[in-house]
Each structure stands twice: as structure tokens, then as C-alpha cells.
């Protein structure tokens, strides 16, 4: 195929380049703003940073909420991903055995949940009955299995030749031993991909936390940020909550604090992003699986 640059190529590159700039600009602006000036409510537009002020971050560290939220989020992400991977890989392996009696029934029952759900209130009452309020596991257990990822893993395990397991079977190994000794080690690429996608989901989890955590000390970073957004926008309406925050934040520009929390919440995603990128094609398959 031709290699030389022609006019349409250049036009397309310019269009995509401009779109990329538009897409990237909000993030750039947020980072700049988090290092912004501490000039009360007003700030100058900074397209190119001319201050490097850490006071927003210093405030967040001294105030403690965001730091606590960071640790909660880290706990939920690590524990949650472990629970996700345990339930998903064990179940996917069992369901990958076509000869297992009852397999089709279970599979259909699982797929049915993608078509129909009880809705918010019945789920809310169920979780409440389990006594998970003000318990960090409320952000882990109700999302312990993602059906898309489960079926993807089931299909992957199902495609592994049975001969891989036969010698172990002859030696008298049971299915659990085979799963951990043979199947999981040869499936590392898919396990890594799904674990990463699960980890991103857990890091971004806020919904069940918002519904069931009344104690704001248990808030993950996402909810600390949500609180900051709603409260600081109240600041402009001169509400009492806003005034309280205004006095606490003293001279720091409130948008700088908000931006600083956004940056802290986005950094872990940026760290794993290069590894995520490796699994893009697998990840997108998760959105369009044929079971």
C-alpha cells in the first residue's frame, strides 16, 4: 500500500488532532487548576501554568478526608478485585465443563439476569436485610460477579484442550487442584486482563457506597469528590454549608481543591492505563460476547 503523504491524509490528521486536543484539554485544565493560585474566589485564566502552588494538596492532606478516602478506595479495590477474580474464575471453570449436569440451566439462569432485574428498591431492601449498611463490603459483595466477564472467561476456559487435564486426572487430581495447578497458570493473559478491568470498576465504585454508607468516614475517594462537588457548588449559593467550607478553606480557591481531588482520583487509572491498553481488544470483546 502507498506510503506517501497526500492531502486527504493531512486533512484527516488535522481533524483527529484537533479532536484529540479538545478531548485532552479538560484534563490539562484540571491539572493546571489544582496547582492554581490561592487568590480567594477569583482566579485568572491559565492556559499556560504560571503558578505551581501546592496549597490545595496540602489542605487536602491536613484535612484528612481525601486521604482517608484514598485508603478506603485502595482497600475496596484490592479486596474487591480478589473477590471478583475468585468467584468469577471458579464459577467460569465449572461452567466451562459441557458435561456438568445442570450446566445449561445454571447458564440460562445467569444470562436471564442480563435481561431482567428486580430494580433498585427490591435490591436496596435485600442488601439492607443482609445488614451491610456502613460496611465497606457493600461496595464489594453486590458487584462480586460481572456476567460479561464471567462468560468471557468461561469461553476461554472452554477452548482449552481437554488433553491438558487428562494426565493430571490419571494421577488422581480433583477438579479444584486442576483449576489452580493447570488451568489458571496457562490462562494468565486473560486473568490479568479481567483483573485489570475489575480493578478499574472497583476503583470507580460509588453507587452502593452512596446508598448504604451513612458514615462519611467510610466514603471512598469517589464519594469524597462527589461531596466536594455538591458542597462547593453550594458555596456560590451562599448556603451555610458553603460558608463553613469557605471559612475552612480560607484563601484556597475552591476549584483548586476540587481539581486536586480529581487529579488524585485519576492518577491510579493513569498508572494502570498503559497495561490496560494492551488488553483493549480483549476488553472490548467483553462488551459484545456471544455466549
Amino acid at each position: 500500500m502507498k506510503k506517501r503523504y497526500d492531502i486527504p491524509d493531512i486533512i484527516i490528521e488535522i481533524i483527529l488532532g484537533l479532536l484529540a486536543l479538545v478531548c485532552f484539554f479538560p484534563f490539562y485544565q484540571t491539572v493546571i487548576q489544582s496547582f492554581g493560585e490561592t487568590a480567594g474566589m477569583q482566579t485568572k485564566i491559565q492556559l499556560i501554568p504560571h503558578t505551581f502552588n501546592l496549597s490545595a494538596y496540602k489542605y487536602l492532606i491536613s484535612e484528612g478526608k481525601a486521604v482517608r478516602g484514598l485508603f478506603v478506595s485502595l482497600f475496596v479495590t484490592c479486596t474487591g478485585t480478589f473477590v471478583n477474580m475468585f468467584c468469577t474464575s471458579a464459577g467460569a471453570y465449572a461452567l466451562s465443563k459441557k458435561q456438568l449436569p445442570g450446566r445449561n440451566f445454571i447458564l440460562n439462569a445467569i444470562i436471564f439476569t442480563m435481561y431482567f432485574s428486580g430494580g433498585l428498591i427490591p435490591l436496596f431492601l435485600t442488601i439492607q436485610k443482609l445488614g451491610l449498611q456502613n460496611n465497606l463490603f457493600v461496595m464489594i459483595l453486590p458487584v462480586a460477579v460481572n456476567t460479561f466477564y464471567l462468560i468471557l472467561m468461561k469461553n476461554y476456559f472452554g477452548a482449552i484442550p481437554a488433553s491438558m487435564e487428562e494426565s493430571a486426572k490419571m494421577d488422581g487430581a480433583n477438579d479444584i487442584t486442576i483449576l489452580f495447578r493447570i488451568i489458571l497458570p496457562i490462562s494468565l493473559p486473560i486473568l490479568a486482563a479481567i483483573a485489570l478491568f475489575y480493578a478499574v470498576d472497583r476503583w470507580n465504585e460509588w453507587w452502593f457506597g452512596m446508598l448504604f454508607l451513612n458514615d462519611t468516614k467510610l466514603y471512598p475517594l469517589q464519594l469524597v469528590l462527589r461531596e466536594a462537588i455538591t458542597n462547593i457548588s453550594m458555596l456560590f449559593n451562599n448556603s451555610s454549608v458553603g460558608a463553613e467550607i469557605a471559612s475552612k478553606t480560607q484563601e484556597i480557591y475552591p476549584d483548586s481543591i476540587k481539581s486536586a481531588i480529581i487529579v488524585i482520583s485519576a492518577v491510579p487509572i493513569m498508572i494502570v492505563y498503559p497495561s490496560l491498553q494492551k488488553y483493549f481488544s480483549k476488553g472490548i470483546m467483553m462488551g459484545s460476547i456471544k455466549g
Binding site: P101, A109, S117, G119, I121, N204
Partner: protein, 311 residues
């Protein structure tokens, strides 16, 4: 299965079968517990749609109320607003958002040999992995009273705008911001389909003197047609979901009239306005039913068209 199994005594009795597969069933336990507790038990809670929920009596003890919830829902103007908004927003997403990744994929394909291609893709895909809380935080800061948009407007001597407070412009913001978050990610599936095209087709077209636009129309577009159809059906099947995370984190009372969707209506009627759990369950139940019909229909159509189905 390995042969010696056939020698095991009583292998065809229930106990024998269970014994043979007991470890696999053991591995299924976490999965079964999850789906029963968090998916099937709540389905039982749907009976609340037919009851007046009394907190002290629980789901079972609450009295039946002869479809009163349904009459309440149908006579509630907020419900109809939410229903209409859900349809409008979903249709808007189909018309405005759906074609963007296809166009992006075609553009990317044209410059796939250039070095910037990967950089652009990296930038476009990144927002997909951030939560709507983070993205709405960024959007609200940018468009807020002291945000850069309003400062630029002020610099030009223009009046401050309030995209977030105006119903119509808020709808536009919903579409644009969702394109920002998801278009790059959705492009990948089309690029995967394009990469599966046999290069000889393009070479043959080159020999016949086809230009790049002709090649796109005759080779690339037909090759991704199936993917487009499947994703379109999936989008239609999901029409009852207007995008809860996005709207919930961006909206405010000033734009309820155009952007309150069924999911946000259910949430507020249960937890903010305290209209009653029976009422909210009923709205959720009706949404689930329509959702089921749409998804099931989409799946059937996909199968009729010779695909493997949506799921």
C-alpha cells in the same frame, strides 16, 4: 471424560453423578450464592409493586393494595416527564452518539500507518476508564460560574452562559460529554472488525483504480456492517436506560424537566421525595418489563439476521 469413570459403580445414580462432579459444584457455590442473593431474591421483592409498603411489616407482611401503586404512577406527571425524557435522550443517543465511533474508526483506518494514530487513540480512549463522578467534576468546574468557559466569555465581553442550568443546552451537554467519554472506546470494536478485512481486497481495488473513498464504500463499510447492526440492536435494547451515572452526577433541579429519566425518577421518589417504596418499585418494575421486551426483541432480530444473538 476419562475412560475409567465408566467402571465406577453406580455412576448413573444421582449420588454417583453428584460424587463425580462434586468439586465442580463446589466451585459453583460462590457464583450461585451471588446470583441468588443479589439477582433472584430482589426479583421476589417486585411483589412490592402490588403492595403498600409498610417498613415495620416488611415485604411479606405489607398489605396488597389492588393496583393502587399503578394508578398512582400513571397519574403522576413526574413519571410521564421521566418516561418522555428517557425516550428522547435514548433516541438522541442513537441518532447523535451512535454514528460517531463508526466515523472515527473510518478516519483512523485511513491514517493507520501514521505515527500519530496511536497517540490520538490513547487520548480518545482514556476518559472511558474514569467514573462519571470525576468527569462531571471536571465538566462542572469548566462550565461553572468561575470556570474557564465563562471567563473566556467575559473576556470577550459576552454574558455568562449557564449550560448546566438550561434544559436544552443541558441535553446537548449530555450527548457531547458522553461522546467524550465513550466514543474512543467504542471505536476499538469497529477497528477490530476492519483489521479482519483481507488486504487483498484493497490491492485488487487499487489495481482497478479505485480511490480511497470508493474503497471505503465498497470494502470497509460492508465489512463492518454486521458489527454495526449488532451494536445498534444492543443500543435499541437498552433504550430504557438513559444513562443514570452520567445524568445523576451532572443534573440539578433546574433541568429536571428535560433530563429527569426513569432511573433518576425512581431514585428520587424513593430516597429524596419519599413518595414511598411501593411507588418506586412499581416504576422500576414497569421499566424492567419494557427493558426485557426490548432486549429480547433485539436478540431475536439479531438471530433472524443470522448473527449469534446480542449476548
Amino acid at each position: 471424560m476419562y475412560m475409567p469413570d465408566s467402571k465406577i459403580k453406580g455412576r448413573n445414580t444421582a449420588a454417583g453423578v453428584f460424587n463425580r462432579y462434586k468439586y465442580l459444584y463446589l466451585l459453583l457455590i460462590p457464583l450461585a450464592v451471588y446470583y441468588i442473593i443479589f439477582c433472584y431474591l430482589p426479583m421476589y421483592g417486585i411483589v412490592l409493586a402490588f403492595k403498600s409498603f409498610d417498613y415495620s411489616k416488611g415485604i411479606i407482611g405489607s398489605p396488597w393494595n389492588n393496583f393502587q401503586n399503578f394508578r398512582d404512577v400513571f397519574s403522576n406527571p413526574g413519571f410521564w416527564t421521566a418516561f418522555r425524557n428517557t425516550m428522547i435522550i435514548s433516541l438522541g443517543r442513537l441518532v447523535i452518539e451512535f454514528p460517531i465511533p463508526i466515523i472515527l474508526a473510518l478516519l483512523f483506518d485511513e491514517i493507520s500507518k501514521r505515527k500519530f494514530s496511536r497517540v490520538f487513540q490513547t487520548i480518545f480512549t482514556f476518559p472511558h476508564f474514569l467514573s462519571w463522578i470525576i468527569l462531571s467534576g471536571i465538566i462542572i468546574t469548566l462550565l461553572g460560574n468561575n470556570g474557564i468557559v465563562n471567563q473566556l466569555l467575559a473576556l470577550c465581553g459576552l454574558p455568562k452562559n449557564s449550560v448546566l442550568m438550561n434544559g436544552k443546552s443541558f441535553l446537548g451537554l449530555l450527548f457531547v460529554s458522553n461522546i467524550w467519554k465513550e466514543a474512543g472506546w467504542s471505536t476499538i470494536i469497529y477497528l477490530a472488525a476492519i483489521s479482519g478485512i483481507n488486504p487483498e481486497l484493497y490491492e485488487a481495488a487499487d489495481i482497478d483504480g479505485a480511490d480511497r473513498f470508493q474503497k471505503m464504500c465498497v470494502i470497509t463499510l460492508p465489512a463492518i456492517k454486521n458489527t454495526v447492526v449488532i451494536l445498534l440492536l444492543l443500543a435499541v435494547g437498552n433504550m430504557m436506560n438513559g444513562g443514570f451515572d452520567q445524568i445523576f452526577n451532572l443534573y440539578n433541579p433546574a433541568v429536571y424537566s428535560t433530563s429527569d429519566i426513569l432511573d433518576t425518577f425512581v431514585y428520587r421518589s424513593a430516597f429524596t421525595d419519599a413518595t414511598g417504596f411501593g411507588f418506586s418499585t412499581t416504576v422500576g418494575f414497569m421499566k424492567s418489563i419494557v427493558n426485557f421486551i426490548l432486549l429480547f426483541g433485539a436478540d431475536r432480530i439479531a438471530k433472524v439476521l443470522g448473527n449469534e444473538g446480542v449476548f
